[in-house]
């Protein structure tokens, strides 16, 4: 067992650097300061994410408690655990067990295949548990604070917290292992990723639609809550039907007496059983999957290929490389390109049903929105730019620029290019993706509202400055401290601390945008004045970044070597 635990520690360290910091050369003092900074940063980020999750669930539960219907949330809470495990677990399981490039390290060691399986299982399980701490635990706490379902249910919640990740990893492992007996699973990795992404999209938009039926969190009259309760009931029933597992998780949220303990405990037993089956099957079949399976190469013709040489501006050439590298990697597409697209879809998905189903609100919307696009209302500028910044927070293309290059990032330093050229070339894609998503949204909203052209232009300029600043800060963070030693692309695109830090910085930038609400509201400033203030402040900050790049020069890439 000691061997397995040691191995799982190594697997975890090797596959994720969110939790474990690698040893770096440098002064002890700096390392200590860095660690303190990281702890503070992670705490702030955790409090933010967990706070949103916990408060949302608390508010909904509190509202439902007023009409005595907190039980309705039971299937949804059960499913939060299932979906979180599915979202993060299946992908992680696949990359850890089946596509990891570190097999060559373990195969020569005197280890049983079951030990490798168990070590990888523990590391994947630990990873999901950490994610659950962000999304699931706060939801449970929020629910318990508002509903107070009783001590037995708390044990039940603990059981499902543990059991569901085990079931998800075990069952998905069994399915993929069995599939790998029939087909070359590595060859179909792309298809697997496409299917996963579609499922992710569907589930995310589905959840956002369902949650949107929750409507206003605070209700004044319990009678008004009737249709919402019905909607949650309908959604809950539908979800229960789709996921029979909620039958067992219900006991963790509804006080069913001894059943509150028994049903989740049965789930835990089932989890143990699935793990045991997976363990047995691993002993029998997993060894074959550990050998790297060569993907059959395309048969090449021995004819001379024809080609064109096109000369581009170096910045454009770097941008073009970025586009090709990301678009040709399903991992990068699904982890870097799709999330920024997902956020506006979820936002729109959440807002639309609320507007469409509210018969009183719908006609008002057509009157309300145009009236907000009044040049005298400076706060609208802040609101639109702030909302656009919020949506752009999930764009982490620039935050992984140099990390994605891996050990070859050093070659960027041999090209006869100025630091600024490299930064521009590498940053363009992140800027472009944000622009592609946000600018059409602003234009559509402005057309619907019949806003004046110059207002639209101001919103776009305001957003563009934020976009530039977000990408600047993300890319500089990554250039200063890239994580170049990764074993699979998922690590480069998702499982690294630079992403969390960049998200935190983006969050701060978004918060800073909203600071402009203070003068806009308190002094009732018109849009043009707020716009000028905003442009001056953001231009100065961006100018400081420019100055920094010029001053630091190639030393910006000091850690890339």
């Amino acid at each position: 067992m000691h061997k397995v635990l040691e191995l799982s520690k190594i697997v975890l360290k090797n596959s994720s650097n969110i939790l474990v910091s690698s040893k770096k050369k440098g002064r002890r003092q700096n390392k200590k300061a860095g660690r303190i900074f990281a702890i503070i940063g992670f705490t702030v980020l955790y409090v933010y994410l967990a706070g949103i999750m916990g408060f949302s669930v608390y508010s909904i539960t509190h509202s439902l408690a007023e009409v005595g219907e907190t039980n309705l949330l039971s299937p949804i809470l059960g499913l939060i655990v299932v979906i979180t495990s599915l979202f993060f677990g299946v992908f992680m399981m696949f990359s850890t067990f089946f596509t990891s490039s570190d097999n060559h390290l373990w195969l020569p060691l005197p280890l049983k295949v079951e030990e490798i399986f168990t070590a990888r299982f523990i590391s994947t399980f630990f990873y999901i548990i950490v994610i659950q701490f962000v999304f699931v635990l706060p939801s449970f706490i929020g629910f318990n604070l508002a509903a107070g379902p009783g001590i037995l249910t708390y044990f039940g919640q603990f059981f499902i917290f543990i059991a569901i990740p085990i079931i998800v990893i075990s069952l998905s492992f069994i399915v993929i292992l069995m599939l790998s007996r029939i087909i070359n699973i590595r060859k179909y990795f792309t298809i697997f990723q496409v299917v996963s992404a579609i499922l992710m999209f569907t589930t995310a938009i589905g959840i956002s639609l369902i949650s949107s039926f929750g409507g206003p969190i605070i209700i004044e009259n319990a009678d008004d809550f009737g249709p919402i309760v019905e909607a949650i009931r309908g959604a809950g029933n539908g979800l229960s039907w789709a996921f029979f597992i909620t039958f067992f998780t219900d006991g963790a949220f509804i006080n069913l007496g001894y059943k509150s303990l028994l049903l989740p405990f049965l789930l835990l037993l089932f989890a143990g059983l699935t793990f045991y089956v997976a363990y047995l099957l691993a002993g029998k079949y997993y060894h074959a999957s550990l050998f790297s399976i060569d993907i059959k190469k395309k048969k090449r013709t021995k004819e001379r290929s024809t080609f064109k040489v096109i000369k581009h501006n170096p910045v454009w050439a770097l941008f073009s490389n970025e586009v090709k590298t990301i678009l040709r990697s399903p991992t990068f597409v699904f982890n870097l390109l799709l999330p920024p697209l997902l956020v506006p879809l979820i936002t729109i998905g959440s807002a639309l049903p609320a507007i469409l189903t509210d018969t009183e609100m719908a006609p008002n919307v057509t009157v309300l929105i145009p009236s907000l696009f009044d040049p005298s209302l400076g706060f609208m500028f802040v609101a639109i730019v702030g909302a656009s910044s919020f949506i752009s927070m999930m764009n982490l293309i620039s935050a992984t620029t140099f990390t994605r290059e891996g050990s070859n990032a050093q070659l960027l330093k041999i090209y006869p290019l100025a630091t600024r050229q490299i930064i521009y070339g590498k940053m363009l894609l992140g800027i472009f993706v944000n622009t592609l998503i946000i600018v059409p949204l602003i234009i559509v909203l402005a057309i619907i509202a019949g806003a004046q052209f110059y207002l639209v232009l101001m919103y776009i300029v305001g957003f563009s400055l934020v976009n530039l600043l977000m990408n600047y800060s993300s890319i500089i963070l990554d250039a200063r401290s890239p994580l170049l030693n990764w074993t699979n692309e998922i690590e480069a695109a998702k499982n690294n601390k630079n992403i969390l830090i960049a998200m935190g910085v983006n969050f701060l930038i978004t918060g800073f945008v909203f600071v402009f609400l203070v003068p806009a509201i308190l002094l009732a400033l018109p849009t043009w004045l707020i716009f000028i203030m905003f442009v001056i402040v953001f231009s100065i900050i961006i100018g400081l970044f420019e100055l920094y790049i010029t001053k630091v020069g190639p030393r910006l890439f000091k850690k890339i070597q």
Binding site: K25, G26, R27, K297, K298, R300, T301, K302, E303, R304, S305, F307, K308, V309, I310, K311, H312, N313, P314, W316, A317, S320, N321, K324, T325, R328, S329, S407, N408, Q410, L411, K413, I414, Y415, P416, L417, A418, G553, P554, R555, K558, I560, Q561
Partner: protein, 241 residues
């Protein structure tokens, strides 16, 4: 021409990977950089190419300081790293296009050179394929073509023969010789002493960050007053350090 003047590289607080190195590599010569693992060869090469910052001293490439005037210096350099896993998702020709763009090579000239070297290294039928489908040797050859594409006056190769088949290794050695004969500087690091013996005009032996010897093989033999093979001389030199 590469001039390394009193150059030191310190990692951490006081680990000297390269210690006060002085070396001039002249135009028109092939210079072999030899030394055991961890001797400081790659660190020196990384300092010359601008990958690693210099702690003390100066390196000039055709008279341009790599620290003070990096862009001008890098325009004069071409580097083939020991790890050829570069931009794997691009096709071979896309990579070469990128290099041509970065170094500002005229497209017609670039096409002509790609044709010539792809043919020489038997890579012409593979250029449209993704680099990730290439073998180690093919990737190495692609990087060599990339370097020759912009014809730098200083060619630096880190372990260039690794993974090459005999024919390609022979062709590379021939190209290196011709390139030096045209008045360019060729610097390469190697563990294969026979290659150094046959190819290099001069060699430099480095160990523990210090340069132990610079000169021709004959000068090395004269210095040690022996008729031993280069391997024996090398072992004697590095074990005495």
């Amino acid at each position: 021409m590469i001039e390394i003047k009193n150059t030191t590289k310190v990692f951490g607080k006081n680990f000297k990977a390269v210690d006060n190195l002085n070396l001039d590599i002249k135009a028109g010569e092939i210079f072999g950089f030899l030394g055991p693992n961890g001797a400081g060869k790659t660190t020196t090469i990384k300092m010359i190419t601008g990958i690693t910052e210099i702690s003390a001293g100066e390196i000039l490439v055709d008279g341009f300081s790599i620290a003070k005037d990096p862009i001008r210096a890098k325009e004069k350099l071409g580097f083939v790293p020991d790890d050829p896993n570069v931009l794997l998702r691009l096709s071979g020709i896309e990579y070469l296009n990128f290099i041509a763009s970065v170094y500002g090579v005229n497209p017609l000239l670039a096409k002509e050179r790609i044709d010539k070297y792809a043919n020489l290294f038997s890579l012409e039928a593979d250029l449209q394929d993704k680099i990730q489908s290439f073998s180690h040797g093919m990737r190495q050859k692609l990087l060599v073509i990339g370097v020759l594409l912009h014809q730098p006056s200083n060619l630096i190769l880190d372990e260039p023969m690794t993974g090459l088949d005999p024919q390609s290794a022979f062709n590379l050695k021939k190209v290196m010789r011709e390139y030096a004969n045209e008045g360019n500087t060729v610097l390469f690091s190697t563990h294969v002493l026979e290659v150094a013996e046959k190819l290099c005009d001069r060699i430099g032996v480095i160990n523990k960050g210090k340069l132990l010897f610079v000169g021709t093989i004959e000068e090395l033999r004269a210095q040690t007053k022996s008729e031993q093979s280069l391997e024996d001389l090398f072992l004697e030199l590095t074990s005495n350090a």
